[in-house]
Symmetry: C2
Subunit: 199 residues, 2 copies
């Protein structure tokens, strides 16, 4: 009887091989063949799942986003029965910043995506859909903060949401460059939230 | 009589060739030979000035930073005899964001640097020295804002300076990805400054 191949499992293994390469030396010089070797499969087997590096990158990115979303959910769940908006935003930031190996790897894959997407309209679509979704989630929390009287009513939730996302993104860059430490990045996020949740 | 070579002029030409490549297709796949061809010189001539891609990248980055600093100076000079701290910070942000071709190119070179520096301790030194200098300049303006009673006295200038730098950096990423437009990025910076200059 032929061995049954678990396709989801194999895709996940390929994505993980991609992450390891991204984390150790960056994806710029990495070919499909390199990723296949790292995943312990042949190039032909890899191409059964992904026909290009970009396709693989977007899959790996989606997978990372899903994992990050799940971890944020777990963090928030661990907080309290009805967690405060400020805590939800902070826990999201903790998960997004490169504070541990797992999110550092996620961020390095995102950077590999980013440098390619800047020059590729088709790849940019991924960010153009993903960030507004995150912005909506953050805006919802800030709206809740206003409703609870924790954020001044004249703050625009949608504006504040994008400011927080951009801030976390910039701090991620500077943490990876070791311009600030992870602890300092988190302290800066807290200082920003302190200025937002003033009421 | 042999033709006198203007070394500074040639270095500048090489840097500009590097910028054009960074701007059009990214630097990841670009070799020293590609840059020499773009600059219209031989590989040997290029290697007389730069022995590696990283060396060239750091030179191009320094050159870009110097140009940006000069343009910020010109913008601030055009403002008023004694420009307000808030205006100085805003004009700096305008220059740093990819709002025109020149700063877009500068940002693309910075990204090429960034993805390499993340995996290279030696390259990171450039950011580790440059960003604290910028942070100091911004902190000085915020301290001035506090002295003039425009920023609340309980804001920490050094913290606020780094928040603003990280915010501009994140917005730069999202502008290049076309998640936000240049105009929207600037509006977001204004909203942030509005929250800082409250007094």
């Amino acid at each position: 009887m032929p061995k049954r191949v678990d396709h989801e499992e194999r895709r996940r293994k390929i994505a993980e091989a991609l992450w390891r390469i991204a984390s150790e030396r960056g994806l710029d010089g990495a070919s499909l063949r390199d990723v296949a070797a790292e995943a312990g499969i042949s190039l032909g087997q890899l191409q059964h799942y992904f026909s290009s590096k970009d396709e693989m990158l977007v899959f790996a990115l989606d997978h990372i986003s899903a994992l990050a979303a799940r971890r944020i959910g777990e963090r928030v769940h661990a907080l309290a029965e009805t967690p405060a908006p400020r805590d939800i935003l902070r826990e999201s930031a903790v998960e997004m910043l490169p504070l541990d190996d797992s999110s550092r790897t996620g961020n390095l894959v995102q950077i590999a995506y980013f440098v390619r997407a800047v020059h590729d309209e088709r790849l940019r679509r991924h960010a153009k859909e993903g960030i507004p979704a995150l912005r909506g989630l953050f805006a919802h929390q800030i709206r809740d903060g206003i409703a609870r009287g924790e954020v001044a009513a004249d703050r625009d939730p949608d504006t504040e949401a994008m400011l927080l996302i951009a801030l976390i993104d910039g701090l991620t860059n500077y943490t990876l460059l070791e311009v600030v430490s992870g602890a300092e990045a988190l302290r800066l996020v807290d200082a920003h939230l302190e200025g937002l949740f003033t009421a």
